[in-house]
Point group: D2
Chain length 345, copies 4
């Protein structure tokens, strides 16, 4: 059994990791940390799991976590993970970090978007945990930077096409839409029910910090510097993310060729589903799952491709992918503990 | 392996049964019938299950179902099941009917609320499938009438108290609130998003057909005729049901004694969870599950008990309980296939 | 023109008062106070009103308000209004207080539910602002305690029947359901979109502070002490409140007689609408308005009456009634500024 | 008083026209037609307006309408208006058609997207009713084709920039998001609450029939043929529409110059509000109103402009603009009857 600890277990991503680990046949939950609920049973924070998760939350104690766990999930705000990770790794733990702290190999990129980095050495070693793209690196990694939700939804459809040289790299625009859980569980006016219901709006227009993360991966896969326009929006729903991506093909290419390229790239990957023509992806179809549903349309009149991808921002966009990363890092089938049948509604 | 067929598989209850059976380790899905989707793969109706359920829907053919299946779930409108059940039973199938057709032992009660009954003989044999109450009868039943969602939510907290003689039987009022999926998947103005959002209202006030169903069970357990006031309401949410039940205690009784009575009755039953004092049940905590969360408050000033129960109307209120009934009828642990860890949101 | 000031203008009730006053033909908005938005234009807090309300919010300064305004609406937390009201009245202002501070004539009742009262003298003078019931007292009042939202929805259907002696006064149960705006605009986990969507639950079961307020009015109208059971619930919608009220008739009475009693009581009152038989009130029908829609059903089998009433908790339940009170206090027709045609959706 | 008739008054657009006309000081409602509710009072279909609109719905009778009304609003499915309009005009009525039948001057464009046109002569005369752009033509028109909701939201921010030659006309992409009421009031699976809640998806990707309508206007204003990519999405909310529009500037241009261009174009128009920098438009801010809120961001890194516009799809996107057109056609100030103060929530 893998002994797993979840730091920051009472946020939405942390709680979802705990849900998934509770049903994972190879894992036992060794510890849950929570500043707000330290000393209280986890199900006080999430009563849905009463009778299912009996762990009592504790204060963060890195030494204790290092001894108690084989893997630690860090579901904490940026900046804290870079302080914790070196110690945890020294204790022999593997680390899966859900913040941005270990997503960038180049510290300058991180520091431009976030803050000074205090564990730069580890950046060279850490692997960007986009499971379907960096599978082999993840298998042997000690530390993984779990991708942001927006980058996951935008990169999964784009990477195969960029790798295959099918896109005009100056032409990429991603218009993404996220459910409210993406903003976290901390109360604020932004997530107040009455401000969200009947509201749809863009935010951080062209300045969101997930933008450099996407460009880093696209540039790596293209072998040259790529920039793109990215606009996130807030949708009045709890979970789910849809990205609509616009790009010009680099040359005349049929929609079938585009679909084939994506299909070939993910042919043996269980969590990517290509939707039939005429049936665009829908966040409802992936709610509570680790799936990424992808659709492709060619706007011939305007010589533009339109890619759509739907994920659950808390699932494949955070906790699901984190558990998938754990599976890869521990040599398990990547679907272990992630194969619940999706709900119909 | 149990070979299970689902008739009416593309309504919400049917689809949820299919979801649960797909993950059930002792079941293979032998057939799905659907008038609307006959000839099409099931995931055309519910794309969330693409890659997980590969059955093609078929027209209803009772002979074929009778041969192909060990158990048939009937998720069909009232009146059709009573025509199908006798033939299915003769083929050696067990039958779990989600309509009202086999819920009433007394045909007069059924006929007063619904229509003439054409399989009255079977009524004597059929068992009311409220799993926590009629467990032993269910284990040996060939045919089970799966309870309505409202009766499930109202009876689970009430039955222990009625059995124990703790309630004034003239005083019971149940004010229930249901998510929209209770109205089924067929389009109508009632379930139009724009008519539901920002709408809360009562309907079928004191004349809902689940009322006689509740009174039948309460009368049976009380050993005398019991009537009660029942008012259902529609809540702007997809899944979930909360019943708030008001009753006078038959004599002075402490809230602890009431809680103890309920707790004792369900002490070894995995799907009933008694909520701690001061933390009333919430539909969000049981969404997508087979749980029934119960809360108890005593309004001493007015000498009234207030019982609250939360279920998922599609889960414990329909499909979950149907699968639980199947488990009991086939000698399996009742949690088999029903033990997914609940979502945090 | 009436010069009106709104203290606490950037909460939901305050902002709705400002919306109504902006369209009121006899009012000019003299001042808006807001701790959080002091120094900023009001439409920074509520951009919907950009171009329509150009007032800049200011810090609370009672002397300035007293000079600048003929009437001050206090949309502030309990305890603050009792400190402000005496000074405002001395300045010659009229005061309409939306907190509980001036709802109780008997300080003991207030103090049992809230805290020590520091302006007890004013309690003798203040009028409970349930416009359809205490019309004449309101016309001549200097200070009005605007009713709570729950009491407004519960009392409007009950008062005529209690006055007429039609109810068994031991038998009253009110099961009320409120939209989320009732919890105010301050962020908290309770109003987080992800905790509200798909959630329905009771809270403060039988201990809500609006309970004594209702009992105070019922007792006054009945001429004897009345208590009742009251359970509020939270509905996943922004605005709206529905109360379902159960009571035994004091003697055999037809449903028509009950309807007639209510109809007669409100025959000349524009904001109470009696719904036709079979068409229960719906919060969607009163959204954004000052209406109270009432429905009546008789559950003959159980000798119980079921009353339903729908209001907008921010409208008739708070701001709308506050403006209606102002109209009465200033000798205007009570519909002035409140007669917008309701939305269809 | 203008005598106005509304044909198709019990759909969402028709009902909103009736709401607006009921509060319009220069209008009396002469007739409402409704196939479904003929013979019944209008408030049977929309109980929110009980006590406010007392008209009884009638069957469509063009002769009667022609005599009874000075202006007829046609809120009917495509194809019916082109059969009715000639007769209504002959009777001396003005006609405001909310279908696509009179939006295209060139019948070939209409017929490519819809069906054969049977009143081609009238197309030459009819005016495209985008009030802020074709103001003068509208003032003297007998018949107006009221714009689609998507074109209204996309064209209002784009037209000033296209006219000023500021955009690369090959580069335009509009990613639009609509509330559910855009799909109309007829029940279907698409608008079923349980299929909409927690669902976000694109539909009619790059093939929506509003696309040629937008291109027609852009081409007219640019003086050359313009095409654009257009992808509509469905948002889980009742009312509201947000369009995010991406385009390359034709030459280096500051974001201030872009804002100034839009501001100048609409400087004296009351229903267009330019949002301050950093505060993108939000559908909640325009709910129930005739406003169009516009935001502008420059993505310098990618040499792209991002325009955002929020409208209420039922308001400015349909009924509000229809009433605004009536005001212009009858020489009234364009805000008459449209100046309700917007709600705060």
């Amino acid at each position: 059994m893998i002994r797993a600890a979840v730091a920051g277990g009472t946020g939405y991503a942390g709680a979802e990791i705990i849900r998934l680990l509770s049903g994972h046949p190879q894992v036992q939950i060794a510890a849950i940390t929570s500043r707000q609920f330290a000393g209280q049973p986890f199900d006080r924070a999430f009563p849905s799991m009463a009778g299912r998760v009996s762990v009592v939350c504790e204060e963060m104690n890195p030494e204790r976590l290092g001894r108690a766990a084989d893997v630690v999930f860090l579901a904490l705000p940026h900046k804290i993970p870079m302080a914790l990770a070196p110690g945890l790794l020294s204790s022999g733990c593997k680390v899966i970090d859900l913040s941005a702290d270990f997503r960038f190999r180049d510290p300058a990129l991180y520091e431009a978007a976030y803050q000074p980095h205090t564990a730069k050495d580890l950046l060279r070693e850490s692997v960007y945990g986009l499971c379907e793209v960096y599978t082999e690196e993840i298998r042997t990694a000690r530390i993984v930077g779990n991708p942001g939700c927006y980058p996951t939804s935008v990169l999964l459809p784009l990477v195969p096409l960029v790798k295959a040289g099918l896109l005009d790299l100056e032409s990429i625009v991603a218009d993404s839409k996220s459910g409210v859980s993406g903003a976290g569980r901390s109360p604020s006016l932004t997530v107040h029910f009455c401000e969200v219901a009947e509201s749809f709006k863009a935010y951080k227009v062209a300045v969101h910090r997930h933008n450099p993360e996407m460009e880093m991966v696209l540039s790596r896969e293209a072998g040259r510097s790529v920039t793109m326009t990215f606009v996130p929006h807030l949708v009045p729903m709890s979970r789910g993310m849809l990205s609509t991506i616009y790009a010009r093909p680099s040359a005349a290419v049929s929609v079938e060729a585009v679909r084939d390229c994506i299909a070939a790239c993910y042919s043996d990957r269980p969590f990517v589903r290509l939707r039939p023509a005429g049936m665009p992806p829908d966040t409802l179809h992936v709610r509570g799952t680790n799936y990424c549903d992808i659709g492709v349309v060619s706007d011939e009149r305007n010589r533009r491709l339109i890619l759509m991808s739907a994920i659950d921002n808390v699932g494949k966009g955070a906790a699901g992918q984190a558990v998938q990363n754990m599976n890869l890092m521990f040599g398990l089938p990547e679907t272990t503990g992630l194969d619940q049948v999706p709900h119909a509604l």
